[in-house]
Symmetry: C2
Subunit: 346 residues, 2 copies
Amino acid sequence: MTERPTVNLDADNQIEESTSPIYSSDLLENEKIHTRINLINEEIKRCLLDEDGEPALLYETARHLILAGGKRLRSLLLVLSCEAVGGTVIDALPFAVATEFVQTASLIHDDVVDEDNMRRGVETTHKKFGGKMAIIAGDLLVALAIKLIGERSTPQLLTYVAAGGIRMCEGEAADLLMSQKKDHSYTTKAALEIIRMKTVSFMVSAAKVGAMLGHANEKQMEALVRYAEMLGYSFQIRDDILDIVATQNGTGKTVLSDLKGSRSNFVLAHAIENCSPDQRKDFAKKLSDGDVDFILERIKEGRSVEYSTEIAREYLESAKRAIQGLNFANEELLTLLADFAMNRLY
Amino acid sequence: MTERPTVNLDADNQIEESTSPIYSSDLLENEKIHTRINLINEEIKRCLLDEDGEPALLYETARHLILAGGKRLRSLLLVLSCEAVGGTVIDALPFAVATEFVQTASLIHDDVVDEDNMRRGVETTHKKFGGKMAIIAGDLLVALAIKLIGERSTPQLLTYVAAGGIRMCEGEAADLLMSQKKDHSYTTKAALEIIRMKTVSFMVSAAKVGAMLGHANEKQMEALVRYAEMLGYSFQIRDDILDIVATQNGTGKTVLSDLKGSRSNFVLAHAIENCSPDQRKDFAKKLSDGDVDFILERIKEGRSVEYSTEIAREYLESAKRAIQGLNFANEELLTLLADFAMNRLY
């Protein structure tokens, strides 16, 4: 059990988290997880080498972000779900890699949409290679993913994969629309709905595909889907918190990008919800003006980071409960993954 | 047998084509083709109604271009390839619709890349709904296509579909890169290579999928692939000619968009190839300046439209030859499709 991270808001509105050693967020410290992430990374590299076509610059563009690292959380979820019910890493690996390809494609397109400059500690793809090449490279990664899973797929698996993709697009669009009206309708409930569409649905698809590859029975499938759902909420709320507290070096994303930019953020939604009616009227204007001090002051007043941490923690506990008592071979690793989603510093 | 279209270049560089009645380009005049295109269109509408999720604006964005019409050439090729070897329209229909979804997604992303304003006689998707929503809507159409074919697919079919997608992305990227250096290396050979990647490969995938759904034998498959290849070259060179000769109303694309913009064009490549060394040096600058008069003058001098028409015609004849003597049930319709690809006015 890890300690809940504490958040200090100092007078200058610099938000920092305690980094006490008891609060470890490094998933790689676990040998088994380490091995699996290494396998996923090696397979990603192998697939990209296999698929090194022309023009070379297109493939370089497609590789840029995916080889810059990343948590590999979704692919790990897929692998662990497969193993939980008796499948092997090897069964899951091509699908895990495809998941990372699609996830990366979505991030590349996202960054074009958001005009972000930094991601995973490197320049965003469109910033480095131009928006045009970035859009095509994202499409290429999707086509490569279809090729990867196509060779080993079944209709039911593909249906899950497609459903995940559809929900992800819906979430992206909902997020985009919400961002254009951060007003009275922007509540924590609305923010959770966007998280459900944008993050949770893809996590659920990953878990379903993994579970199915391991030939899960109905009860096992249900538990893993519930686990993935709860994990998804916990993970994304933590992401939203990090976007507010972390420095640019920490996350590789521009500090406070959700606030200034066009993305839904649970912490922000809570702060708006807790404003006085007068402040709330101001909020939309202050947001579009990029008045970060005003916004951080509201977040502080509303204790929105603390509240969000509490909520994320509840989801974490639900995730852990979901997988208890099912004799999953790797319950310990699934628990570790959930802890990481919640407690990570990056 | 239709007459070869004649092209008149008048003194004002207004290029017009004769529209003698003997030169019919309306594929819909054939009752059987008409029926098949109607079926495809009805199925597209049905699928889009089935898939009417939230947010509504995302689905409206995804529907915009695909419901604006289009030649449905690739889906028709898929259907006819299936029927040629004894399959039915019904077998082919979900895959035909998926083909149109992917093709439309690619056009939507293309138009974002090219910043074009008009397509199929309507505003481009990004112009109407914004670039951000357009990128997401393109991704959604791909996910919907995967769903459609997923339910009925086999690993081998998916491999063909993925290969088509990969080649299309490669072609897009090659086109983009070539456009940035319309200089000495921009030859008809280079333009044909881009056509091969950008257009031919997707046509081949459509024919392969259709043929496979109809359980083609090896010889039949080979013939239909060859047919699709030749059809693809003929179709795209005709497209390049139309971009130069057609008015905005005719094609729904901005007049001379390839010249001014960032796209490879076979006619243009021929004109550059036939320039004197001095003129060639000027070409890149004149292109980026948008000096349309200079360019049209070179096209006229080089008789580049006439040359391109001749080449497209040769491909057309090769397409027709490819399917002869195989007792395809619908040889007449395949021949008609090839004639249309070459002789169409839109």
